[in-house]
Amino acid sequence: MKPGKRLSQFIVFNLFGLISYLIVVILFIILGFIFIRGFSVISWSFLSAMPAEGMTGGGILPAIIGTGCLVVGSILFAFPVGVLSGIYMNEYLKENWFKKFIRMMTNNLAGIPSIVFGLFGMALFVNQLKFGDSILAGSLTLGLMVLPVIIRTTEESLKAVDTSLREGSYALGASKLYTIRRVVLPIAFPNIITGLILSVSRVSGETAPILFTVAAYFLPKLPSGIFDQVMALPYHLYVLTTSGTNIEESRPMAYGTALVLIVIVLIVNMIANAIRRSYRKKLKLR
C-alpha cells in the first residue's frame, strides 16, 4: 500500500472512531449532569409522596403512576393493533399499489409531529367522543403516535424470517395460520420486542400528545379509573421548569423528576432486552 493511502486510511478510521466515542461521551455527560443535579432530591418520600407546597416540596408519586398508566394504556392499544397490522401487511397482503400506499401512509404517520397528534387526540377523543381529559384519551393518542413504529418493526421482523422455514412448514401440511403462529411469529418475536421497547421509551417521554388529552398541571391524588386525569413525568418536568409557582425553588425537583424518568426508561429497556436475549437463546438464533 502506498504511504499516502495508508495515511488517509489512518485518518478516516480514527475519525470514525472518534465520532463513535464522542456520541458515548455526550450521552454520559447528559446522564451525569442529570444524575448529579437530581440525585440529592431522590429519597423514598420523593418517590412515594404527593407534590406539596406549590410543587416546591413533596414528591412525584402521581406523576410516576400517571406515566405508568399511560404506558400500559397506550401499549395495550397499540401493540395488538400494530402487530396484527404488521402480520397482515407482510403475510397476507400481496405486493401491489394498495400495500405500497398503506406503507407510505404508515411512514407518513411516523413523521407527523407529536403536537399534531396531541391536537388530533383532543379533537377526536376528548371532544368528539367525549372521553374528556382522561387516561383513555391520552393513551389512545400516544398509541396512535407509536403505531407506525410497531407496524414497521413487526413487518421487518417477519420479513427477516427465512422463506425455507415457511416452506418446510407448508410441506408438512400446515396451514398458513398455523405456520405463522408456530413457526414465523416465535422467530420474529425477539425483534418485535425491539419495536415495543422503542414505543415504551417514546410514550413515557412525550409531552405534546398528552398536553391537551390527559395531563394535569397539579393533581395530588391517584387515578381511580380510565376516565380520570393524571399527572405525567414529562409534563410535570415541563411544568416545574417553566410554569411552576416558584421555578427557582422547584428546580432540584425538576432534576429529580428527570432522573426518575430516565431511570424508568432505562429499566424498561433493560427488562425488554433481557426478555429478547433469553428468547433468542432459547431459539439458538445467532
Binding site: 400481496k94 427465512d162 425455507s164 422455514l165 416452506e167 418446510g168 412448514s169 407448508y170 410441506a171 408438512l172 401440511g173 400446515a174 396451514s175 398455523y178 408456530r182 413457526v183 416465535p186 422467530i187 431459539l283 439458538k284 438464533l285
Partner: protein, 252 residues
C-alpha cells in the same frame, strides 16, 4: 394399488408469460427412485413442486394439463392442499429445521395433524428418527435445539420430520448439495433404504449421485422433458444427443 404413483399428462406450467414446463408426460411406479437432472433453470425443481403444489405459493403461476398422485388429480378443486402435502413429503436443498428442539421438529407434522396423544407422538418421533438413521447421534439430546446439529444431521432430521407424517411419496430437491461428502454418503444410503417403503423423486445436479441412487433418470432441458429411461440406459446409452452431452459433462 394404482399402477403409477405419480403421473403427468401434457403438463404445462407458466410463470406469468414465461413457460417453465413444456408438455411434460412422465410417470413413476411405486417404490422406485427417479432422479431429475438437467442444467439450472431447466424446470426440474418446478416439476417437483407440482406434486405437492408448492408452486401455489408463487403469484402468477398457471398450469394446464394434468398431474396425478395415486390417480388423484393434484390440482382438482376437491383436493385440499394441506391433505395433499401430508401424503407428499418434501426435503429441501438447504436443511431447514425449525429453531425448536430435535423432538419438536419431528413432532411438528404430527401436531399439525392435530395429534395430541403424547405416547403416540413419542413413539412416532423415535421411530422416524431411527428410520432417518439419526437415532444413535441424537438419542441423548432430543430436547436440545436442532440448530446445534451439523448440516448433515440437520438434513437427516428434516427427513425424519417428513417421515413422521407417513407420506407415500417423498420429493427431494437437491438434498445433499449443501453437505460434505461423508454426510452426502449417509443421505444417499438413507435414500436407498427408504425406497423399500416410499416412492422417491430426487432433483440433483450431481451426475454420480443420480447414477448411484436412482432406478430411473429424467433429463430436462429448457422446460422440456428431453429423455427419460432406466438410469443405466441414460448414463450408458442415451438416445438423445443432448442427454449424452449433458451426462458426459459436455455442457450444463
Amino acid at each position: 394399488m394404482p399402477e403409477y404413483k405419480v403421473e403427468t399428462q401434457n403438463f404445462n406450467l407458466f410463470y406469468g408469460d414465461f413457460q417453465a414446463l413444456k408438455d411434460i408426460n412422465f410417470h413413476a411406479e411405486p417404490n422406485t427412485i427417479t432422479a431429475f437432472i438437467g442444467p439450472s433453470g431447466c424446470g426440474k425443481s418446478t416439476l417437483l413442486r407440482v406434486f405437492n403444489r408448492m408452486n401455489d405459493l408463487i403469484d402468477g403461476v398457471k398450469v394446464t394439463g394434468k398431474a396425478f398422485i395415486d390417480n388423484m388429480e393434484v390440482n382438482d378443486r376437491s383436493i385440499r392442499v394441506d391433505e395433499l402435502r401430508k401424503q407428499v413429503g418434501m426435503v429441501f436443498q438447504k436443511p431447514n429445521p425449525f429453531p425448536k428442539s430435535i423432538f419438536e421438529n419431528v413432532a411438528f407434522g404430527l401436531r399439525v395433524n392435530g395429534i395430541s396423544d403424547r405416547h403416540f407422538i413419542e413413539e412416532r418421533v423415535v421411530e422416524s428418527i431411527r428410520k432417518a438413521a439419526l437415532w444413535d447421534e441424537v438419542k441423548d439430546k432430543l430436547k436440545k435445539s436442532a440448530m446445534e446439529l451439523s448440516g448433515g444431521q440437520q438434513q437427516r432430521l428434516c427427513i425424519a420430520r417428513t417421515l413422521a407424517v407417513e407420506p407415500s411419496l417423498i420429493l427431494m430437491d437437491e438434498p445433499a448439495s449443501a453437505l460434505d461428502p461423508i454426510s452426502t454418503g449417509k443421505i444417499e444410503d438413507l435414500i436407498f433404504e427408504l425406497k423399500k417403503s416410499y416412492t422417491i423423486i430426487i432433483v440433483t445436479h450431481n451426475m454420480q449421485q443420480a447414477g448411484r441412487v436412482s432406478d430411473y433418470t429424467a433429463f430436462f432441458y429448457l422446460g422440456a422433458l428431453i429423455e427419460w429411461d432406466k438410469t443405466i440406459k441414460i448414463f450408458t446409452n442415451p438416445t438423445n444427443i443432448q442427454t449424452q452431452h449433458y451426462v458426459t459433462g459436455k455442457f450444463g
